[in-house]
Symmetry: D2
Subunit: 346 residues, 4 copies
């Protein structure tokens, strides 16, 4: 059994991790920390976990994380970077669901995240945990930077096109829509029910923190070539789900490429990426509560614009599920272990 600690269990990625870990056949949950809720039984805060998670929140100070095999950070940005080094030194694997280790360029990270990085040396070593791209490196990692939710949906959607070099890289558009749980479990006015229900709104058009992360990923797919990307996120009145609508322009000399085949071949054998039949419109509910990305590729009116539709559950393939997938890789388990829940529909 893998001994698991979770730092920061009171947010949505935290409780989703607990849901998945509590059902994982190879996991023994050892500790869940929360500064503010120490002593409270986890199931008192989240009644959905009654009878399934018996632990109480413990204070980070008194949690014996050094005896875990792996520690997940489901914390705000800036926490993991302060604690990871000590854990790594103790031989504990670290999977950070926040952004601390996602961006290799530390200066760029500091610009977007507005703080000084506490542990640049681990940034250099950390592996970006998008298994469909980085599986082999994850297996050897000591620190896994679990990708952001938007970056997961957008990168998987663009991946076959960019790797194959069939689209122009200077004018990509990612128009993305997220359910409200993506904004976290924070007492803020704009995500109140009465504010975000029956409403649709863009945000962060001037610049969103996931932009450099996506740009870095796409550029890597392109062998380091620069990428021009316009990224516009929107808040949509649903709890879970991300829908990325991606636009790219085919290069002039590749206009007879079979896009459907390109996608199917790239993701052949992937347990958690499902290329839908030609002409499909994947729905976010078709992946609700499951570790799955469904993708459809279109070429409207046979023109030179490619439209990719990519959906995930932001809390699963976009966060906790992908983190467990990375844990499975780290510990040489079949990647699907504990992750075979069927989406809940309707």
């Amino acid at each position: 059994m893998i001994k698991v600690g979770v730092v920061g269990g009171t947010g949505y990625t935290g409780v989703e991790l607990l849901r998945l870990l509590a059902q994982h056949p190879e996991v023994e949950l050892k500790a869940i920390t929360s500064r503010g809720e120490a002593g409270l039984p986890v199931a008192d805060m989240f009644p959905s976990l009654r009878r399934r998670v018996d632990l109480k929140f413990v204070d980070p100070q008194s949690a014996d994380l050094g005896n875990c095999d792996v520690v997940f950070f489901a914390t705000p940005n800036g926490i993991a970077m302060k604690q990871a080094a000590e854990l790594v030194a103790a031989g504990v694997k670290v999977i950070d669901l926040a952004a601390d280790f996602r961006i290799s360029d530390v200066a760029e990270w500091q610009k977007w995240y507005g703080m000084e990085h506490a542990c640049p040396e681990l940034v250099a070593e950390a592996v970006y945990g998008l298994p469909e791209v980085n599986r082999a490196a994850v297996r050897q990692a000591r620190v896994v930077a679990n990708p952001g939710c938007y970056p997961t949906a957008v990168q998987l959607g663009f991946l076959p096109l960019v790797e194959a070099g069939v689209i122009e890289l200077d004018s990509l558009v990612a128009d993305t829509k997220s359910g409200v749980s993506g904004a976290g479990r924070k007492a803020e006015t704009h995500i109140l029910f009465s504010e975000s229900a029956d409403n649709f709104q863009a945000y962060g058009v001037a610049g969103h923190r996931h932009l450099p992360e996506i740009r870095q990923g796409l550029s890597r797919f392109a062998g380091g070539a620069p990428v021009g990307l316009t990224f516009v996120p929107h808040l949509t009145p649903m709890i879970r789900g991300i829908h990325a609508t991606l636009y790219g322009r085919l290069k002039k000399d590749v206009k007879d490429v079979d896009l459907q085949a390109l996608f199917e071949e790239r993701f052949a054998g992937e347990a958690f990426v499902d290329v839908m039949p030609k002409g499909s419109h994947p729905s976010t509910r078709s992946v609700r509560s499951a570790n799955m990305c469904r993708i459809a590729v279109h070429r409207p009116q046979g023109g030179d614009v490619v439209v990719v539709l990519s959906v995930i559950d932001n809390l699963v393939k976009g966060a906790a599920g992908q983190a467990v997938q990375n844990m499975n890789i780290l510990f040489d388990l079949p990647e699907t272990t504990g992750l075979s829940q069927i989406p809940v529909m309707p």
Copy 2:
């Protein structure tokens, strides 16, 4: 492995059954019938089942249901009563998720359901499949009448009070609220998103078909005494979930009863009924997608009115999950087999 057939797989209880059965370790899905969709892969209609259910819908005529061990009817009322006898004769267990075998009094059934009953003899033999009351009888049954969604939430909530004889039976009130999936997957105007979102409305105040079913159950709990019940259902803008708010008046001579203890003792050992701590307000989302009924009992201001709050997922403990629970009993499996999904929250 239990060989399973499903008649009527295109509604919400049908697809929910498929979700649960496809994850059940002792089940082999043999056939899913649909008159209208024969030939269509199930996963084409329900993309959430892609890669998990490979069957196509088959015409009821050509389905070899006689070789199944058990057949679930997830059909409209009036179908199972025409086909059950032949299956029973062939040694196949029948679990009807519709209402055909729920009401012992055939004349009463015919009045409420507006049709003649095709198989009164099986009504007499059928067992009402509320395991927390009828477990032993279910084990021996050939035909299980799976309870309705409202009746499950209401009966479980009133059960300890009525069995213990502590409330007056002449003035019970069940004010119940259901998510829209309870109305089924039918193309009807009143359950359109634009009609039922951001709206709340009662229906069927003059008389709802679940009234006689609940009354029959409560009367049985009371050893056959007549029960006066006012039952008002409401449609609430959520997909899944039933919340029953139940009102009863304590008998004069039992006013010092410990209600919390009464409930905890009655449901001690039940895997799928969770008596919440004193003062709780169970939420429907705390049982979303799981086979669970959570109950809290209150006595406002210490008066003589008891208020019980009882929540289920109408498609799971109120339909497909309870049906699988009954199947587990029929085949001597642990009752929780294949039913240990943790609720999806948020």
Copy 3:
């Protein structure tokens, strides 16, 4: 033109007041106060008011409320009681949308609201502003206590039955459901979208502040007789709307009363109470954004239980609209002035 001041314009009742007052033909908005947002244009906080409300929030200290004809308090409980006396002394009418002047029994108020009352003498003089009951008194008032949202729906629904003396008063039940805007525009976790969407839950079963207010009202309708009421509020995933489902038992000697006629006669001529045809199920959306209460009365299966369904928009007839209705009465305007918006449907 009536010179109007609004104290506390940043909550939902505040912005709703502004919507109604900005369209009112006899109103001149003079000042809107907010301690926290002084200096901010109102329309910057609420873009729906762009081009329609040009005022900025002003600090309560610097607002010249003494020169207004009427001041509305759309503030938390406990504010109006500190400021009303000075305004009244200056000849300004006060309409309090909070609870400070609703309960005549000051000790009872202090028990439920957990603070000492700053101005008991005005409580004695204040008029409870339910116009369908108290119209004449409102006309003469200096201070109007605008009723709570639940109390409006519940009192109007029970009113004809209690006034006519046809139901037992010892066992009334009010099972009520509110949209989330009823909880206010406060940054609290439990009313986040991801917490209250796709969910249904009771709250305050042990005792809710609207209970004594409703009990006081019903008792007055009954000529001072005591009233036994069980009141259970629920949160339902919609923005606006209250649905009250009311249960009472007919007295033995009045079982041939024509309930439909009783309701129609009681509310004949009322502009803002609509008795629906027999057998109706009023929907909250049928009153969305309008100052209207729609009521239907049922007697299921011809028994002795009366079920009344009463719906309002909690922010309009349950708050800001009723406040404007009271203002119209205070200033001898036709009661419907500025209040004839047709409900927005769908």
Copy 4:
């Protein structure tokens, strides 16, 4: 008073027209037709109209539309084209809320709408009723083709950029999101609450009927130049509202254009187009139930991509409100007559 007839009053654009017309000070509603509901009081189908609309639906045959001053068609596509000629001949103005007269190229129309056009001669004469572009022509029209909902939001958003010639026309992207009421009040499975709540999905990526309408409009703004547009609509779980996110690339030689000023100047004086301050993210709820288009223009990271955010209420500025605006123009009323409702928020 303008004598008004409405053909097809049972859909969402129909009932929204009734809401607006019933509050319009210069309108006398003469007839509302419905083939299926003839004889039914309108307010029985739409209780929100109780006490405000006294008419019954009449059969189209027996409605005396020839005596109206103007007739609105709130019908499915293909109806108005069969009846408009006779009305026009009788001197009645026709405003078609469907698509029959929107596309000048009849062959193109027939390709997208899959039927033969019954009245091509009126297509030639009909005026496309986007007042912000075509006000003068509307004033003289006998037949007004009221624009589609997506086309209104998209054209108004691109208008200043295309008219001023500052963006490349070969690579425009319109990523649009609609509330479910945009799909109409039809009993279809995919727009059931349980299907479209808590879900997000694209549709019609291969080609949507609003594409040629938008392309025609943009091309006209560009003096007839061809336009390359990718148009992807999505269904979002809200009742009302359209959010268009528009992408264009600035021409090389105009990169120092002041986009904010360009938009503000183009729409100066427009009552129903509100250019938001720089950096804004307009929300659909800020225009809910009002005849208003709010627009913000962005240039992320100062690059050469322009992002325009344009929101309307699909049933008001996207349908019924714009139709009333056109009626006001036709009858020389101030354009805002009867259209000054403040958006309902929250």
